[in-house]
Amino acid sequence: MKHVKTLNTRSLKDSMTNGGCGECQTSCQSACKTSCTVGNQSCENKKTK
């Protein structure tokens, strides 16, 4: 595309298929303890595949 650069290829919709295993980290156990951020966490399912 000439006018658009897309930064990612993964769709949230695709993650419905194999998602929900629950092996990922609990957000508050990382570094915040007072807010909630999940967008910066990694999917463990991908790693173990």
Binding site: N8, T9, L12, G20, E23, Q25, K33, C36, G39
Partner: protein, 508 residues
């Protein structure tokens, strides 16, 4: 839903429900709003037919319908169309329209939210407990003025957790974790190193049960650093997946809010050399320097950069959450200053990354490719269900921030969960249960925010702490802009691999 914004010279389009992020030129940026509720032909008619605007608006007249694109809320459409026609050539407009239509067709723009039913069903499932925040010491040797734990006491008595209570907590976690293999245990306080012997005993006990229970414990420690010594550092480097080191930044900022208890002695002078040594010894292991900023240091980007100046690579800086009556509380009028501060920090973050001396800032880390699944993104932080806090005497609470509020006591390590109604309430707490979140572009990144903050400000866990939301949205905008700024740079790969590596270690 589409969220579009300009930041640091970038035109960014976040297609909220697909998760796609696009960086565009001005023409596409200007035309994208016109596709809200319209197809390619309608947009072309809108642009090029005589009376097209009038006709299309009439055709699409739908009184109260809220636009999918939040950019449209304050947009005067006829004027906007006129602006586009006077700013760009017709062939460029047509080309831009075709590219936008292609994105829509590919499910990367104006995608629909198709997740509500799945998430609601997902949340109704039987949950397991996978993480505990062990309040190993309700005591602290610092007297931090903003401490939600009331200098370690949590509205109760000073107490240290016994090995027996901690052991029962770990047994409870194993027994209630189902097939979940990775279990997280954070040693928290007060100051957990004030009960160090029990921390070590519990790690040893947890490890002793891993094999037969087919579990993998990820222990973490949150410490003020005052009692760190060689033995504690060595033990942590052997056993702790991550350590969170509390420091508020510059000396005057830190010492104002984090003095020693009952003394004027600077905690900065004691802590910083220990943390520097600890970070050095961590090597490739994960750690975070974590601070809190308040109304007194709204220029907190200087504190983050101060961390970098001290040699730390991984850092987090959180806004204080407190009663609005406190002198250090963040006030509504502080918000514009704070948002500018995040912009300033983001620019410096990019600059340093490009210069090869980048650092990791917790809230600017966004994994666009390998991030969490949509279930995780929409189902909340897990407090009260997957994540529980345990007091020194073995009471269970939905999370560390509810500890001390008896209304939220869920049970004990002896009885297990007794207040199942309350657990059910937390189970159903997801972004679809929160009216403010449903309409927010950040919902897939913050997962509905902090239940405790919502409760503290609104008396319910299904609302949102509004000032916190404004800051969260800004952090997400900055984080995405950073990705755009570093895309294509040689350092982009480096920064991403650092992010991934740090995260991998944090959860290892």
């Amino acid at each position: 839903m589409v969220h579009q914004y300009k930041n640091n010279g970038f035109n960014i389009i976040l297609d909220v429900d697909s998760g796609a992020v696009h960086v565009t030129d001005d023409i596409v940026y200007d035309i994208i709003p016109l596709f809200d509720g319209r197809d390619k032909t309608q947009v072309k008619n809108l642009m090029f037919l005589k009376d097209g605007v009038r006709d299309v608006l009439k055709e699409n007249a739908d009184g109260d319908k809220k636009p999918e694109n939040d950019f449209l809320i304050d947009l005067d459409l006829p004027k906007h169309v006129e602006k586009i026609l006077s700013s760009y050539r017709k062939e460029d407009i047509e080309e831009a329209i075709d590219e936008i239509a292609e994105l829509i067709e590919g499910g990367q723009l104006y995608a629909k939210d198709i997740y509500e039913r799945s998430i609601t069903n997902f949340k109704k499932r039987k949950t397991v407990v996978k993480a505990l925040c062990l309040h190993i010491a309700h005591d602290c040797n610092l007297g931090c003025k903003y401490c939600f734990a009331e200098e370690g006491e949590y509205h109760g008595r000073r107490a240290l957790m016994s090995f027996d209570v901690g052991k029962k907590a770990l047994d409870f976690l194993i027994e209630n974790s189902g097939s979940r293999r990775n279990l997280e245990v954070d040693f928290f306080g007060g100051e957990p190193t004030m009960n160090w012997k029990v921390v070590k005993q519990l790690v040893e006990y947890g490890r002793s049960r891993e094999k037969e229970a087919n579990k993998n414990f990820r222990f973490t420690l949150t410490t003020n650093g005052t009692l760190l010594n060689d033995e504690i550092m060595d033990f942590c480097n052997k056993e702790m997946a991550n350590v969170v080191l509390s420091l508020d930044g510059r000396k005057e900022v830190n010492d104002r809010m984090r003095p020693f208890r009952g003394s004027d002695k600077s905690s900065y002078d004691v802590i910083v050399p220990k943390f520097q040594e600890f970070a050095k010894r961590r090597g490739d292991l994960s750690y975070y320097i974590r601070g809190t900023f308040t109304h007194h240091n709204l220029d907190f980007s200087n504190d983050v950069l101060h961390y970098a100046g001290l040699g730390f690579d991984n850092m987090s800086m959180e806004p204080v959450v407190s009663s609005p009556t406190e002198d250090y509380a963040i006030k509504e009028e502080d918000v514009p200053i704070i948002l500018e501060e995040y912009d300033r920090l983001a620019k410096e973050y990019i600059k340093r990354s490009k210069e090869g001396r980048g650092f990791t800032f917790f809230h600017f880390m966004i994994d666009l490719e390998q991030g969490p699944c949509v279930y995780k993104r929409l189902s909340g932080c897990g407090s009260g269900t997957e994540y529980l806090a345990v007091t020194p005497w073995g009471d269970l609470y939905p999370c560390h921030q509810f500890v001390g509020n008896e209304e939220f006591k869920l049970g004990t390590v002896d009885t297990g969960i007794e207040n199942t109604d309350l657990v059910d309430e937390f189970k159903c707490c997801n972004v679809y249960a929160k009216p403010k979140c449903r309409e927010c572009f950040a919902k897939y990144y913050c997962s509905g925010g902090c239940a405790a903050n919502s409760y503290n400000f609104h008396g319910t866990i299904t609302d949102a702490y509004d000032i916190g939301c404004e800051m969260q949205r800004k952090r997400i905008e900055c984080a995405i802009m950073i990705k755009a700024a570093l895309a294509g740079e040689s350092d982009y790969k480096k920064v991403n691999s650092v992010d991934a590596e740090v995260l991998a270690q944090a959860v290892r």
